[in-house]
């Protein structure tokens, strides 16, 4: 067993993956294993009683959205009854930000990686304010989801059908040169996304009002590209998963209660521990007391070598970690210490176009005592309040220790 070689292989595959956004479709029709009565959620596996506020809210909303319950009370009873199955998005080649709930009828982005022939999925971004991903399920939230499903989804599908797929890797590479890091800052990427979609949507929209609604919606949200980017990162990380003898981390995800990781050479086993509360800046009127423990699959960006790992590319948001642009550079330099390679496509101008650090090596995390950095939004701990801040979080060291022990048991008993 040569761990270094296995890790190199994992990183090479991750970098060689070429995620193309090909269509928007209904979850039930495209996500492997998706079925009625199944709800996908962010993070490692979790049962109803242990779910945190935002995730519970999103589950209730999804049950009402699916027509499985009429009222909050009905939904709550159903969720607790055991008749609804909850499984991680990650078990179904999917990812979702924050609560990350995907139900069978929801429209989802489909990303294909022709290099390795795998696919990945994510839900559509709902914008800001009261949204399902933060656990809101009021009627306006559900109405918006229905509009996304009924109008925006099909039109985006037709728009994308005119292409061979939008190259998300190329989009991200360019966005990193425009001040994005791909997780907390997606302003440039979302504008590039809008720029690519605008002519296509104009071409297929049935009328100007519909076209305007869609472009306006995409353009109003500086996060609109986050979901397809996450699916792209998932497609890349999955390409690196399952390499015998590799200590590269291929999943990092939180469900609002636990933080979990999976490792390329250790199959589908999760290593979990209680999620921590991010350190960060809070919106007016909120404080750390309002914060839910870390939540969401968006850590797939860091797993794929962007997000906090590309912090040096995004000095504009350095205030989330302390204040000076130099700290943004140091954040990325620190991540080189625990990664197995450098990205061949994602480069950072301020580091003389060095490739971003990619492929978290479990061994280096343990040896140096440096856990991966994660840039993240902070959810209110109560369902439906929404985002209360943004900041930095690190996974608990414990899960890397568990994984290292498991790796040694498997490979060096």
């Amino acid at each position: 067993m040569d761990i270094d070689r296995a890790n190199q292989q994992a990183v090479d595959r991750l970098v060689a993956a070429r995620p193309l956004l090909t269509t928007v479709a209904t979850a039930r029709d495209v996500i492997p294993g998706m079925r009625d009565g199944l709800l996908l959620h962010a993070g490692p596996p979790i049962e109803w009683p242990r779910m945190s506020g935002p995730l519970r809210g999103a589950i209730l909303g999804a049950l009402i959205f699916e027509g499985m319950a009429e009222t909050e009370a009905e939904a709550e009873a159903l969720a607790a009854s055991g008749e609804v199955a909850f499984e991680p998005c990650h078990h179904h080649q999917a990812v979702g930000p924050m609560a990350g709930v995907i139900s069978p009828s929801m429209a989802v982005y489909v990303v294909e990686n022709p290099t390795h022939g795998n696919r990945a999925f994510s839900n559509l971004n709902e914008g800001y304010g009261k949204v399902l991903r933060y656990g809101a399920y009021s009627s306006d939230v559900l109405d918006r989801l229905r509009w996304m499903n009924e109008e925006m989804g099909p039109i985006l599908a037709s728009a994308l059908a005119q292409t061979d797929g939008l190259d998300l890797r190329a989009l991200l590479a360019e966005a990193l040169h425009m001040g994005d890091e791909g997780h907390n800052r997606n302003k440039a990427g979302s504008l590039l996304f809008l720029k690519l979609l605008a002519p296509l949507v104009s071409e297929v929209a049935p009328n100007p009002a519909s076209c305007t609604r869609i472009l306006q919606f995409l353009g109003d949200t500086a996060l609109s590209v986050l979901n397809p980017v996450m699916a792209a990162c998932k497609a890349m990380a999955d390409a690196a998963h399952g390499i015998e003898g590799s200590t590269v981390v291929t999943t990092m995800a939180r469900n609002g209660t636990d933080f979990g990781i999976r490792v390329s050479g250790l199959g589908d086993r999760w290593f979990t521990a209680p999620a921590q509360t991010p350190d960060g800046l809070y919106f007016s009127g909120f404080s750390a007391e309002d914060a839910n423990p870390d939540i969401g699959d968006s850590t797939i960006t860091e797993t794929a070598g962007i997000g906090a790992f590309a912090m040096a590319a995004a000095p504009a948001i350095v205030t989330f970690i302390s204040g000076k642009p130099k700290d943004a550079i140091h954040a990325t330099l620190e991540m080189y210490e625990i990664t197995a390679g450098e990205h061949g496509h994602f480069t950072i101008p301020s580091l003389d176009f060095r490739g971003t650090p990619v492929g978290i090596d479990l061994r280096k995390v343990i040896e140096l005592g440096i856990t991966p950095r994660v840039n993240t939004g902070i959810a209110h701990r109560l369902p439906g309040v929404g985002q209360v801040g943004a900041g930095l979080v690190r996974p608990p060291m414990e899960i890397f220790q568990q994984a290292l022990e498991a790796f040694a048991e498997r490979y060096a008993p």
């Binding site: 330099l333 580091l351 220790q401």
Partner: protein
Amino acid sequence: MSTLKTEIRPGAYFDSIVLMQLQAALAGLEGIEDAGVVMATASNLAVLEANGLLPEEFSGEAEDLVVAVRGSTEAAAEAALGEVDHLLARRSGEEGDEDYRPRSLEQAARQLPEARWVVISIPGRYAARVSRKALESGRNVFLYSDNVSLEEELELKEAARRKGLLVLGPDCGTAHLGGAGFAFANRVQRGKIGLVAASGTGLQSIACRVHELGEGISQAIGTGGRDLSATVGGITAHQAIDLLGRDPQTQVIVLISKPPSPDVCSSLLAAARGTTKPVVVYFLGQTPPNRQLGDLVFATGLEEAAEIAVRRLAETLDPSTAELVVRSPQQDRRWLRALFSGGTLAQEAALGLRFFLAPLASNLGVEGTIPGSDPARSEGHTILDLGADEYTVGRLHPMIDPDLRLRRLRQEASDPEVAALLLDVVLGDGAHPDPAEHLAPVIAEICQQSEIEVLILVVGTDADPQGIGEQCSRFEEAGAQVFRRLSDAVSYAALRLGRQREASPGPPVALADLASPPTVINIGLESFHDSFQAQGATSLQMDWRPPAGGDDRLLGILDKLNRNGRQRD
């Protein structure tokens, strides 16, 4: 005929500035007439086409990178395409990491790739691990840490020697390399005297005295106190002597140590003599009676060592002993057998020879010699006092009765491994009236029948009744070399039979590693980093922490995994 070659990389985004640089670099390659590197947008493709760089039947998307080169030959165009990745990876080296304190040696080495030294002052239990990594990265190690086991020291030094690198230490407190003091060091001027020291304060004292005398230090290499032990074998001291021997700035070498293991000592002194530079040696508390052997001078104290070294700078080398060094250790005849009638003479000879001849057996109990296993049979180099009790039971002292010594002489001469015999002849009242009468015929017989050299020390005056001149002539006529001073006989034996310089088992340490000012990665005590910077050396301070947070169990797992990986390579 020129050839157009193109490569399309789907979905590879690069900023246009980067691509223009790549294009210019490709166009500058030998045999390349023109190059175009663009993202495949319609307008870019039109430019390529206008310049005759667009292949026929091209199809590509706007996100695709197109690299087109027109070479004078197909091979040139092909070679240029092969350079693309290399050229894209080429950077200015400015990575904005000047004040980042790396946690790992890998990152440190990336930030300061020119560093030739890694200075380690972390707790001993982690020091060997970090040293190993430093050596693996091709850098020399200054190991200040103590509590590194002897086994680890040997392993590290052997690994270093295989790579032509140095490990100074463990427990090395001081050095001057490339004009900068390492760890504890005095500010001394640079000069022509090079030090090799297994003694920290010894090194400092000598350096200070040299400075006071108006001279300076070229390099001062601390080896760590155990380097000259039998286990470590003086690996670092050997490398250091070889290095200073080659260093054009170093004109005189000073070697300081507590008394080394005899085997290490003899090989080290052979190496010292092999440098053909004057070498001053000070083994604490052990100065041999014959203080000079060729260009090797033994000092009696630290200050004196410095003073001799400064004096030797002004002197020319002594060529007189150079031609004596003729024997190679491969020859079958290599042992000295000295059969003394005078006990004190035997002891003095042993004190003079113990640093050069190893293993050296004696019945004298002199430190640095070993007792022979059998009084009746000699092995290796042997010095015997035949006047000792075990030989005089039931017979007269050998000064009066030559019988025992004559028999032993013949016995030694019949040993095919013997190269030289050393005898004393003490004249005067009370001694045998004519020692040559019995000895000369046997000596003649030995000299005729073998290649053995017979060395005779004659102690007496021209007033002695035996007639010293006549005695000497008769020994010389028999084929012996006659000496009137013990130190001359000892020096002769040391030069003829002393260990020869052995070829180093590893590649030489690069002189460039001693270049001024030094460039170091400092792991541990930050005061060392400050000191380097104050001296104008380039130093990068690492933010080192105990691996795996000091959790031995996890560290054990890591080491096991990494070891398994290495073994199966």
